[in-house]
Structures are given as C-alpha cells and as structure tokens.
C-alpha cells in the first residue's frame, strides 16, 4: 500500500525529472500504480527514451566527433554531458541544443590528449547554426562600382546571417577532409600544421566550409564586426604591408558572404 503523501503535480514532475536525470527512481516509484510489471521496469522506459533521444540529438549535430572518438566512447561522453542538469536542453526545440558540448569536451581528462576535439566540435556547431540561419539576400558585387570614390572607404558590410568564423590552432581542414573522404590523399594529420581559418556560409540551401588564408579570414572578420572598408584595410596593412585588399574583397563578394552594404549619407 502506498503511504506516501499525495504530491501536487509540480512536486510529482520534479520527482520524475530528478529520477530520470539521476537514474534513481526512488522518489517516483511510490506513485506508480502497482501492476503485473514492476514499477521500476515501467519507469525505465522513460529513462531510456530520454537518454537515447539526447544521445541521438548530439550524434546528429556532432557526427565528426562521433567518428573521431568512436561510438562507444561517444556514448560515455554524451552520458557524462547529459548527467549534469545544467547541460540539458532548455527548450522543446532540441535541434537548438548542443552549444555547450564543445567546451565540455575540453574538460574531460580521458580526452585531454585530443586537444583539437573542442575546436572540431565548435566547427560542427557552427555548421549547424549556418544551416539553420535566417535567409537573406546576397549583395550584388556590381553595385559596389556605383559608389562614389570618395565614399568607398566609409562603406560598411552586413554579412549574410549564415556566415560564421572559426580560427583553430589545429588543422581542422585536414581533419574534416579525412573524415569526409577517407580515401583522400591525407593519410596522416600533423597537428602542428595549424592554425586553420574557416569561414562558413550557406548558399542555395547548402552549407559551405571555406578554408582560407589568414589575411582573408582577418579582413572578412573585421568587416563582419562593423569596421568600414578603410578601417579594415588600414588594420590589415598595419599587420601585413603586402596585404592585397582587392583580392580579399573580391573573395568575400564572390563567395556571397555579404547581404548588403551601408553607404554613409553625404
């Protein structure tokens, strides 16, 4: 006979939540109706489904991490991540979940030798954000030629919402190539080949990874943060007197990274 005091719904849901996240169902079992099947066996269906759905959501967003550490290890990592309540999803849109997973990977002693994992996971998270980003128009590069010469340096650029930047100390480009194309010419990755510079964007519903030179990356990054063209060129030339701004700007426009430009009013 159940002698537990009848909880209100909020208390029962708190018990249920804690039982699922801790794996200890003691708080909720007294409120499950006895039957031909044990209360614990019944409760475990929910526990297992929640765990499996969390696991699958991470696996879908971070497929490269799963390849790099293997299914068995990844399952343990996912479990360690989700056992901490603060890492659980905060909304019913589970596709938006996983932002904290890259940082979490860097805290695991068992993975401390794989120092590139955090950056590779960040790269996969940015792919996800780029894939889901708002649609926007692409700026027509020919429009730039219509701007009066004395105003051109004051032009600022609004980048497409799907554009994201990632600099890593490690050769993320080589790791990506190896994972995507195991038959590629890359047979061994030298982690000292970094840093790598990646710009992600989405064109025609496909997410692109642009592996770029440091100059292109820094120039585009400055413009994306609001520097006007003159400021960005000045900053780049201070670092590298050989900086070719025309080529870099051409790259940014040709790769359709810009949605619009802002011309100062005279």
């Amino acid at each position: 006979m159940n002698h537990s005091p009848k909880p209100n719904l909020r208390a029962l849901q708190e018990h249920f939540f804690k039982s699922i996240t801790s794996g200890n169902a003691a708080q909720v079992l007294p409120f499950i109706k006895p039957s031909h099947i044990t209360e614990d066996a019944r409760f475990k269906v929910y526990k297992n489904t929640s765990s499996e759905n969390l696991y699958n959501a991470l696996k879908i967003t971070f497929p490269g991490i799963w390849q790099l550490i293997g299914e068995e290890c990844a399952r343990g990592v996912a479990q360690a991540f989700t056992v901490d309540i603060k890492n659980l999803p905060t909304s019913g849109s589970i596709d938006d979940w996983g932002r904290d997973f890259p940082k979490f990977l860097s805290t695991l002693p068992e993975l401390s030798d794989l120092k590139y994992l955090e950056d590779y996971a960040s790269f996969e998270w940015l792919q996800h954000l780029s894939f889901c980003a708002m649609d926007a128009e692409i700026f027509d590069a020919a429009e730039l030629q219509k701007i009066p010469e004395d105003l051109i340096e004051q032009v600022t650029f609004s980048f497409h919402p799907s554009v994201f930047f990632l600099r890593s100390e490690y050769p993320i480009d080589q790791i990506y190539e190896l994972l995507e194309n195991p038959a590629s010419s890359i047979s061994k990755i030298n982690l000292n080949d970094g840093p790598s510079y990646t710009i992600l964007n989405r064109n025609d519903n496909h997410t692109n990874m642009l592996w770029v030179k440091q100059d292109y990356f820094n120039f585009a990054s400055l413009l994306s943060k609001g520097s006007n063209l003159g400021e960005a060129i000045g900053s780049m030339q201070a670092l590298n007197p050989e900086f070719d701004f025309a080529q870099s700007l051409g790259f940014i426009l040709n790769k359709r990274l810009v949605s619009s430009i802002n011309i100062p009013k005279v």
Partner: protein, 280 residues
C-alpha cells in the same frame, strides 16, 4: 470540399523526393519543432510543400502538461511557423517534458486528476488564444499509470476537450500499446469518445520489449508497419468516427517513400466509408 484523408509524416530524407515526384497522397504532417529555424533548406522545403499538399503541424515540445506552464519562446516559435505554413491542423500531446527551465526529449505521463485537468486547461487555453485557433490533443502511449489518477484517460481527454474547445487526435497505435501495457480494453477506450471530438487519427508501428518473468511492454517506436490488430482497431474507429484525416507515422528505420505511401494507401482499404481523393 472534402478534408484531406490519407497522409504521411514528413521526414527529412523524403523532402526532395516528395517535392520532385509529388506522390499521390492527400496530406503531410510535419513535426513543428523541426522547422523552428529561421531559414535554410528544411524550412524552405516545407514552404514549397505547403503549396502542393495540405500540411498539419504536430508538436512534441510544448509540454501542455507542465505544472509550471508552457514556454513563451516555444509558443512564439510555433505561432511564427503556423503563420508561415497555415496548416489545416495543429496538434500536441497529452504529456509534459519541461520543468525548471529544463527539457527532457520524451513524452512524459501525467496523472489524470482534477489538478492536472486544470493545468492542461490553462495551458491549452493559453495556446489556443495565442495561436488564435483550435488545437488537437493526442493520447499518448504510456508505460505506467499513476496511483493518484482519478480519471480514465478517455474521460480525462473528453472533459478537457469540452472545457477548452480543443479537439482530439486519436492515435490508434497508442491506444493499442497502452491497452496492452495496462490491460485496458482498446475497443472500450474508443467507445468512450464522442464522435464530434475526433479530428485526426494516427497509425504507426511499435515494438516489444521483453522483460523478466515472461512479461513484456509494447513500445511506441514508430519503426515498423502498422500491425493487423491496429488496422482492426482503426477499422472499428472509422465505423464510429467516419472520415477523419488519418496519418501513417514512421520515424525510426524509415523506409523508402514508396513503401511509406503504399502503407498509407491501406488507410482507404480499412476506412471503407471514404472514397480516395485524387492528388493533382
């Protein structure tokens, strides 16, 4: 004009094929949360498909049974999607999955008490007022019952629907699964609903989890064909409820589109009161 009748759940591996081939099917049901993004391929596919097929939006994350109420951001995202897609049905579950600002990705059970009824009522009222439309509530598959429940599930749902104006999405596979797990009578379950409340029916496959002592639980895995017992139940439901838009849900071990559509076309066979609609 007739309501759309035999439909399939829209899953990402099939988006492009459906857009290209426009198979003969009356309607599609999309999981709302899969399209909460601001842009990109998935949302654009759904925008194209809505021009070809009637679309229903089916949610799994609104958590209508949460004692702490529903998440305003989630509700806003749903409203934005509803405004874009203009679905002919919007549905959610008689479950909860959110508390303390955290979300568990499962459809968790609620005790059927007067307190739960009031909480569901408030959350459904808020949802319908915000969306400015009626929603449908789906009976869940369940694996446990609460000893504190004072309503039978169909009575709870009927009372809730009548007090909110919401309607019912009757998942016949869920009835079969829950009836097996709790030793309910599935046919009496169906009999308990007034005809006018049932606005959609779901069908799906399930699996069996073997337990100790030769016991087992049926699990709502959506990973197989609809079994004969569920088709029989569906046929019975059709005799009672008539022509209700009916959907094949298939999530895991997803078959080819052709197999899925062939399964959906069985709906015509078992609901003999309905003439198939021609897809143009």
């Amino acid at each position: 004009m007739s309501a759309p009748f035999a439909g399939i759940g829209l899953r990402s591996p099939h988006y492009q094929q459906i857009i290209n081939a426009r198979p003969k099917i009356d309607w599609l049901e999309a999981h709302s949360e899969n399209f909460f993004m601001k842009g990109g391929a998935a949302l654009n596919s759904l925008k194209i498909l809505r021009e070809i097929y009637p679309i229903s939006l089916h949610g799994i994350g609104l958590s209508l049974g949460s004692a702490e109420g529903i998440n305003d951001d989630h509700l806003t995202a749903l409203k934005n999607l509803v405004d874009i897609i203009d679905p002919f049905l919007v549905s959610e579950h008689l479950t909860w999955n959110q508390i303390g600002g955290k979300y568990l990705p499962d459809l968790l059970p609620v005790p059927y008490t007067f307190e739960s009824l009031e909480i569901f009522k408030n959350n459904i009222d808020k949802t319908q007022n915000f969306l400015k439309r009626e929603i449908l509530i789906e009976n869940p598959s369940s694996y446990l019952e609460f000893s504190i429940s004072t309503f039978l599930e169909p009575d709870f749902m009927t009372t809730l629907a009548k007090s909110t104006g919401a309607k019912i999405l009757l998942d016949v596979n869920n009835i079969f699964v829950s009836s097996f797990n709790h030793k309910w009578d599935a046919y009496s379950y169906i009999d308990a609903f007034p005809q006018e409340l049932i606005k959609e029916i779901h069908l799906a496959g399930h699996s069996i989890k073997e337990l100790q002592n030769n016991e087992s639980l049926k699990i709502d895995t959506h990973d197989d064909f609809v079994c004969q017992e569920v088709w029989d139940l569906y046929e019975y439901a059709c005799q009672k409820f008539g022509n209700v838009p009916t959907l094949i849900e298939w999530d895991e071990k997803l078959p080819t589109l052709d197999v899925l559509i062939t399964e959906a076309h069985k709906i015509y066979k078992y609901c003999k009161t309905h003439e198939p609609l021609a897809q143009t």
